[in-house]
Symmetry: C2
Subunit: 397 residues, 2 copies
């Protein structure tokens, strides 16, 4: 039978990263293309303890149906945590626990965006979110990212040219894929532009707790006196991605619609996972855990930058300094054919992600590629960067 | 700020059942309105053992990112299980693990149905699925359910009148809410009508393993030589709903689109849950576990029917005999104001679900209400049915 799919999924493709992962699965290939937390970053002992305890003390609560808004104690814990630590959340906001932050992208788009309406995103931006937006036939408008975040001139122009914009999607901290953090000035400017043009902001902050150098920057949501920011937080990078727990703090009107859509999406998030997160945050020293992660990753980030300084920079390949998160973006000299370089790299047994995968228009000219330093071991990092340099030498004049 | 929501969610409401649950949360109210498995039905000891073991032996696998299709070993186990036990699945099908069966409804609708296109459902049908269909602005056409399943004359008429039908949604076994099972003859007829009119069938089978009396009936999917049936199976009623694990066996072309949408929905299903299910099915006697569930529920079903025979039937309230699943539907004499009866019942401290909640048009005249027998204790069942009889006496001439 010839299946007739809905218009919204006619042109949907599996993500380019996913295709690259097939090569990366070859154990001989050094993968700098992933975005997984480091195995040593998981709080394994704590999760074992908690899991054993909750399955012994309250198994029925863990295994029975729960409510769509999320496990009540975790909602309270996160509400308090985000208010006290980041001044995120007001009396006009509410909190919804989701099955990973990907679901927040889905619920926000479903709730707010008709087919053909516009979502403005950073260019480049996180491919998973872009694909979710595409799956609702939203029109994506990419705005160039500078070294201190989205270009505000280009953002204002995009807002002027697209009066049917529903929201601006931004990852302000250690952005995936660029690693770039938005300046405070630009955060304030983005907020005021959103307010002026009557659009919402979807602030995606999975890496906020993973800052290795420099001063902490306020969340855009902490400036939200007008109820125009939807905040997305995630446990994937700070506890575990396999447990699929994230949360959104959003104005109550939007929260309510998202809850109804969440009900139709997967009823509620896995209960075991939610209790694990709540216990970790309340019965253990969660700040010490976050500090441990920062210690692990800042050493790896420094090591990665040393390798790139030694092997790539002399060849004319630049990168944006790693101040947090799990990624950075390298830029090839403009005469190098980047897609060909990435293909040659894979044949040479090192895998990176071509930068155009993260653009709203994948056919745009692009000279960047993304590298990750959290997943590989130090040995793999060294081998991978050396292989990249070896590949680059064939392309560099 | 006045939020402007997408057209698809403008009229979405929280489910009526959800509202009723607020009353049911009052500990003084006997709730016959739930659909939760009985606490004694959970394989608590097995899950404790498995969880302890997998977190000890392979914690990183449990906590790390996984793939959208599902945990590979569980996919293999279920593929084999469904083929051997139910002849479900061909070489042209593939299997996707989802975050509960609700997500299958979401993915099937998203993948196949444009706004305004038609989904034909049983009337009454499962409210959770109806609401998911509504959340994509699908047009719902309800087809009357007879004592042996959907009326085939009405189904054919609906197919003739709605050439833009994308699929027929059916719960053939112990349907929620009616408890009715579709005859083999009607299963074959539905399949041939779907083929004739070029539409798909979405077969939702959460209760199939919970048959208490009578002969097992083949799945519609087992007749699927043309690649037109999407099968939805679930662990919620046979292992645990809190773990959110279900699976769909679908023609490969549809499977592939659903995988891409699943990626944009929540990336992948919780890994811990998937491994729990796989271990339960492969390292324990899963058939013995299912038999234990049938033993528990068939006793409860018999007890419930005895109570209804004793207290409700003499008042002219009929019910459809329970042969499996977790529900039955009671029918009031046609002169009784059913919504008023349900309201009075709640005030009288017993909670049931008004039948119109399950209709595609909630404003249709309706004389039924749904009762559940799996969640309450025997004492609660007796108390609840007595309270219903007491309420009914005020309404019965």
């Amino acid at each position: 039978m010839e299946y007739k799919f809905s218009d919204r999924v006619q042109t949907l493709k599996p993500s380019a990263i996913r295709e690259i992962f097939k090569y990366a699965a070859d154990p001989e290939v050094v993968s700098l293309s992933a975005g997984n937390p480091s195995p040593e970053a998981f709080p394994v002992e704590e999760i074992k303890e908690i899991s054993e305890r909750i399955l012994r003390e309250r198994p029925i609560e863990v295994l029975q149906y729960s409510i769509s808004e999320g496990y009540p104690a975790l909602r309270e814990t996160l509400k308090k945590y985000m208010k006290e630590n980041y001044n995120v959340g007001t009396d006009d906001d509410d909190i919804l626990i989701t099955t990973g932050a990907q679901q927040i992208m889905d619920l926000a788009t479903k709730t707010l965006v008709n087919e053909g309406e516009v979502i403005i995103t950073e260019a480049p931006s996180f491919i998973g979110s872009l694909n979710t937006f595409r799956s609702y036939n939203a029109k994506l408008v990419g705005v160039e990212v500078e070294s201190d975040g989205m270009s505000m001139e280009a953002l204002e122009k995009a807002l002027q040219e697209n009066p049917n914009t529903k929201f601006i999607y931004t990852i302000p901290n250690f952005q995936n894929p660029s690693g770039i953090t938005m300046s405070l000035e630009k955060r304030k400017k983005m907020y005021s532009l959103a307010k002026q043009y009557g659009v919402l902001i979807l602030e995606d902050n999975p890496y906020g707790d993973l800052r290795y150098t420099g001063e902490e920057m306020p969340c855009i949501k902490s400036l939200d006196t007008d109820g125009i920011v939807i905040y997305a937080g995630s446990m994937s990078k700070v506890i575990s991605p396999g447990i699929r727990v994230a949360y959104t703090i959003a104005p109550k009107g939007i929260f309510q619609k998202m809850v109804v859509c969440k009900q139709g999406n997967d009823v509620h998030t896995n209960v075991w996972s939610q209790i694990i997160c709540n216990e970790l945050m309340t019965k253990y020293d969660f700040n010490a855990h976050l500090q441990k992660l920062r210690d692990i990753y800042s050493v790896k980030a420094k090591y990665m930058m040393d390798l790139m300084d030694k092997y790539l920079v002399p060849l004319g390949i630049t990168y944006s300094p790693i101040t947090g998160g799990l990624f950075t973006m390298c830029t090839l000299p403009s005469y190098v054919d980047m897609p060909q370089f990435c293909k040659d790299a894979v044949l040479n047994k090192v895998c990176v992600v071509p930068g155009n995968a993260f653009l709203t228009d994948e056919n745009q000219e692009c000279h960047t590629f993304r590298v990750n330093f959290s997943t590989p071991t130090d040995e793999q990092l060294e081998k991978g960067i050396k292989l990249l340099a070896e590949t680059a030498k064939k392309h560099i004049k």
